[in-house]
Symmetry: C2
Subunit: 342 residues, 2 copies
DNA sequence: GTGAAAGCGCTAACAT
DNA sequence: ATGTTAGCGCTTTCAC
C-alpha cells in the first residue's frame, strides 16, 4: 500500500498542499516554474492522487455503474466493452454488477452502486418493480435505462427498435423479389421484443397486401424450436421462398431442417435470423441476420450518461439504437426469378 | 443525488454519529433498543452509508480491480462473472478494465486502479514489462497475476496447466485403444501455451514409446489452418485414428476437412479440441475438447485475493487451475477395435 | 501566484 | 452503553 499523500509532495517540492493540487488539476493560477517543481516531486515520490479523498470534497467519484443480467452473456459483454471504452475516454472507471434478471438482486445492485456513490448508472433491468425503481431514482443521480420504460426525471431511455430489424430484413427480401414469406417466432405477447418483431412482420405483409394466414409458426426460441417449426411451415406452405426467424438460434435450426429436407439455402429458400450471435457466421451457409451493434449500445448509453452527469436537469429524448442487416450467405433472389433471368 | 449523512440519522434517532456507526457496523456495545431506534431512522431517511468516506478512515475501499485483454472475449467474460459472484459474497465491488494486450494500456489500467485505491487486483497481462510491473507492485497492494510469472512479494500466481489438458485428452484416446495419434498446432516456441501443449503431446507419446515423426503438422490456430493441416496430415499418415488439436477452431476446421474427405468422425477418426469455445457444442459432431472452467479461474483468483487483502504478509503457493475433458461426440474407439469386437 | 483554514462523511481511540 | 475528539486526503474559499 502506498502512503504518499499530497502533503508529502508539498513538502518535497517546498510548497503548500493547495499548490500541489493546482498543479495536478491545472486549475487556478500557478507559475510554470512552481508547476514543474511540483510535477517532478510527484514523479520522484510516485504519487497518485487519492480519488476517494477527492470525491469527498467534489461530490464526484469519476465512476459509473453498469448493471446487466449476466456479463458472461456475449450480448452484455459487448455492450460493456463499448461502455468502458467511452467511459475511459471521459475519465470514468466502471463498476459492473450482474443480476441474473432477479428483482431482488437488481435492487441490491442499485443499492451497492449508490453506496459507492457512482456518478451515474446504466441499467438493464426487466424485473425490478417500477415503483421501486422510481423510489430509487428519487434519491439518486442519472440513470440510463435500456429497453424498458419507466418515467422519472432521473431516468432516461434507450431502446433497440426490434421492429426496424424485421423491416430491414423484410425489405431486403421484397427487393430481391420474394413474395411468399413466412416467419418463425415464439408466441409470448407479454415479451415486448417478441411481440414487436412479430407485429412488424405482420405490418409489412399487410402494407403490401399480403395475407398472413398459415405463414407464421410459433415455437420455442431455440435451435430445436426453429427446426420443428420449419418442418411444420414448409409442410403447410410449399410455395414459401423466404423465412424470417425471431432469432438466430431458430434460424440455425431452420437451416438444419432445410438441409435434411434437401431444400437448398439460399437457392431454393432464403433464411434470415435476428441478433447476430457468434455462430451465425460459422454455420453453412453463413446466416444473414438483423442485428444491433452492441458496442454501440454501450457507447450511446455512456455518452448520454456523461451529458446527464454534467447537466442533471437535462431531459434527453428517448434514444433509439439503430439496427442493421448483416448480409451473409443465406439469402438470394427467389428461384423463380433466377430461372426467368436465365 | 442523496444528501442524507450519518449526522442526519443521528439527529433523527436522537443519538450521536458514533452510535449510528456502531449500529451499522455491528461493532462495539450497543443496546438493542438504541440499535432499533437507529435502524428505523435509517429506514425512514433512506440513508446509505458513503463508502468513500468510510474508506478514507479504514483505508479499505471494498473494491477490487480486474484487468483483462477484452471483456467482450467470452473467455474473459466468464472469468469476470466468476470473479464478480464471489467478490460480491465477500462484500467487494469490482472495477473492470480492458487492455487489448497493449503494454501502455496495461500500465494505465494499473494506475487507474491505484488511483481508485482498490484493495487488490486480478491481472491478466502479457505485455507490460516485468520491471514496470514489479515497480508498480512495490507501491501497491496484493496482485493476483494469471498465466504469467513475475516474482515479487506482492504478486501471487495462478496458472492454467495447458499440459494437463493435453494429457487428459491423450489418456482418453489411449484408453479407448488409439495408438496412431496426430496433432495439429501452430509453431511458435515463444508462446508458452502453444509450446506447453505441444510438449505435453510429445512427452505422452514418448512415454509410451511412440514415434513423433510425421504426425505433427504446424499451421495457423484458425479454422482454415486446421482444415489445411488436417488434409496434409491425413495425406502423410493414412493410418491415423485420432487427432489432437491446439484449439477448437483448428479442430472444427479439421472436422470440415474430414467431412469433405468422407472420413467419418468419430467412426473412422477421433478428434479432440482445446478451450471449449461456444461453437464446439454446436458443430456436428459436437466436439470433445479439453477445457478450463473459466468461471472457476475467476472464483479462485478472487478467493486468493481476499485472503491476501486480509493478510498481506501471506505467501500463497502458485495455484494451478484444474482442467477437464468435455466429452461430446467427436471421439470413439478406433475402427479396428470396433471391428474386432463384432 | 501562493498559503491558511475549513470541511466533505465517516470511524478509531479515548472519555464518560 | 453512549458521546467527544481527532483526522483520513483532498479541494474550495478566502486571505495575502
Amino acid at each position: 500500500m502506498k502512503g504518499v499523500t499530497i502533503e508529502d509532495v508539498a513538502r518535497e517540492a517546498g510548497v503548500s498542499r493547495q499548490t500541489v493540487s493546482r498543479a495536478i488539476n491545472n486549475k487556478g493560477e500557478i507559475s510554470p516554474k512552481t508547476k514543474a517543481k511540483v510535477l517532478s516531486a510527484i514523479q520522484k515520490l510516485g504519487y497518485t492522487p487519492n480519488l476517494q479523498a477527492r470525491s469527498m470534497v467534489t461530490q464526484r467519484t469519476s465512476t459509473i455503474g453498469l448493471i446487466v443480467g449476466d456479463i458472461a452473456n456475449p450480448y452484455f459483454s459487448s455492450v460493456a466493452r463499448g461502455l468502458q471504452d467511452i467511459a475511459r475516454q471521459h475519465g470514468y472507471s466502471v463498476f459492473i454488477s450482474n443480476t441474473d434478471d432477479n428483482a431482488d438482486v437488481e435492487h441490491q445492485a442499485l443499492k451497492t452502486m449508490a453506496a459507492q456513490r457512482v456518478d451515474g448508472i446504466v441499467l438493464f433491468s426487466h424485473e425490478l418493480a417500477a415503483e421501486k425503481l422510481m423510489a430509487f431514482a428519487d434519491t439518486y443521480r442519472p440513470i440510463v435505462l435500456v429497453n424498458r420504460n419507466v418515467q422519472h426525471p432521473n431516468i432516461h431511455h434507450m431502446a433497440v427498435d426490434h421492429g426496424e430489424g424485421i423491416r430491414l430484413a423484410f425489405e431486403r427480401l421484397w427487393h430481391l423479389g420474394h413474395r411468399n414469406i413466412g416467419m418463425l417466432a415464439p408466441y409470448q405477447p407479454a415479451r415486448a421484443d417478441i411481440s414487436r418483431r412479430l407485429a412488424a412482420f405482420e405490418s409489412e405483409m399487410q402494407q403490401r397486401g399480403l395475407a398472413t394466414t398459415d405463414n407464421v409458426v410459433a415455437a420455442q426460441p431455440t435451435f430445436d424450436g426453429g427446426y420443428d417449426a420449419m418442418l411444420q411451415l414448409l409442410d403447410a406452405r410449399h410455395d414459401l421462398s423466404a423465412v424470417l426467424c425471431y432469432n438466430d438460434r431458430m434460424a440455425i435450426g431452420a437451416l438444419q431442417a432445410c438441409r435434411e429436407l434437401g431444400r437448398s439455402v439460399p437457392n431454393e429458400l432464403s433464411i434470415i435470423g435476428f441478433d447476430n450471435i457468434r455462430v451465425s457466421s460459422m454455420v453453412t451457409p453463413a446466416l444473414t441476420t438483423a442485428a444491433v451493434d452492441r458496442y454501440e449500445i454501450g457507447r450511446l448509453a455512456v455518452e448520454a450518461l456523461v451529458k446527464l452527469i454534467n447537466n442533471p436537469d437535462l431531459q434527453l429524448e428517448r434514444r433509439i439504437v439503430p439496427m442493421s442487416l448483416v448480409e451473409r450467405d443465406s439469402v438470394a433472389a427467389p428461384a423463380a426469378i433466377l430461372a426467368s433471368n436465365m
